[in-house]
Symmetry: C2
Subunit: 228 residues, 2 copies
């Protein structure tokens, strides 16, 4: 994957950081993750114009699952790279299209997300710029916070419950990507038949409380590893 140019060197290090948090969570979908995945699905179902951003790590880990969520939620995939070059952008777009079976946005970036350094700010006007709800798997904190500042509702998928991305999100899913995405897709399948139920799910979800509960769970398991 590295030599193919999909994942960057810093992407590998970031993957390792995720692995450590997943280890602390017991490498499973916790009840808090399940609740967030249901709320994420509700937000997608109730959105006017959702979009799913895809970077190199997300593509390498879960290209098929991203395609499935894209189809069931009518959200396009938009490739956004932290370490961007025209060559790498083309490589990742082609990789995601081949793996997901979906046409992706990203080759032409005619929009700017305000408030962050220029290279990472680039996006598609008809994609991320116009979206009301953005699902951001494995996104960095600067971009997540910038999206929130311009009024987007954000669904993050990030194994670190303390990351700026998780903290800034409307719905922070603290779960491993290949477990989270199929679960969100399944909930979208159920909730899109019942938008009122989706509204209730969303109303009852408190992101701050849910993240606090994740931290309590990590600490409990750290102190009593045998209770697993």
């Amino acid at each position: 994957m590295v030599t193919e140019g999909v994942v960057s060197v810093t992407g590998l290090i970031a993957h390792g950081r995720g692995e450590a948090f997943d280890y602390l969570l017991g490498e499973r979908t916790t009840p808090e993750a399940e609740a967030a995945e249901m709320a994420a699905a509700a937000l997608l179902v109730l959105s006017e114009r959702p979009i799913i951003t895809v970077n190199g790590n997300a593509a390498a880990l879960a290209v098929k699952e991203l395609g499935e969520l894209s189809r069931i939620s009518d959200a396009m995939l938009e490739v956004n790279l932290f370490h961007r070059s025209d060559e790498r952008m083309e490589k990742v777009c082609a990789f995601v299209e081949a793996g997901s079976g979906e046409q992706v946005l990203g080759r032409i970036q005619d929009g700017i997300l305000e408030g962050i350094a220029s290279d990472r700010a680039r996006c598609c006007r008809a994609g991320l710029m116009a979206a009301d709800v953005v699902l951001i798997p494995l996104e960095d904190g600067d971009r997540a916070e910038a999206m929130v500042r311009v009024g987007k509702k954000i669904i993050s998928i990030d194994l670190n419950p303390l990351s700026r991305t998780s903290q800034a999100a409307t719905v922070a899913v603290v779960d491993e990507l290949t477990r989270a995405l199929p679960n969100i897709s399944a909930w979208v399948g159920k909730l899109r038949k019942d938008p009122q139920e989706a509204g209730r799910v969303l109303k009852n979800f408190d992101n701050r409380k849910n993240l606090t509960s994740v931290l309590d769970r990590i600490c409990h398991d750290l102190r009593e590893p045998s209770s697993d």
Copy 2:
């Protein structure tokens, strides 16, 4: 570093895992780490024949500091690679010799550490095989446990307090490598003038208690991040 062949792809991911734990520890030398570094120095001072093993990640992160500890503790450096080839071994040995200023062992591996898969079992008879105390920065659990089984006293440097390496060690230093090594060197400088004091330090150190205290600290900081 990756293209130079010193660090492997899995080494980068492992580095990321370490970063996550360092983040949970507040990216500082905790009081527990300080106690372990003092005990590590005491163990080195009281050893008959200490050795310091060096893998690709340790070399990339702290080659100078490894050289300094080698000189002050009269412990040779022995290169041991998880992903081994003759070419990579020569590269890493040359890299460590240039950076540390010390001759290293590892080019000729005429010993076998029993109880682990053959490639990772290789070591030097006059080095690791003959040592009574082995300092293992960033070592994997299989090798750490194998060394303990053949009677070595182990000093680990590993940011994960729950890793099999930390759990197996005689003295587990849970600290970042470039903070830990100079601190151990400083303690060796002090304690080698007073072996009796070194004996007292070692007698008072309880590895299990110290690791439990590290976990308590992580949990406390997770629940009350504002108390920092």
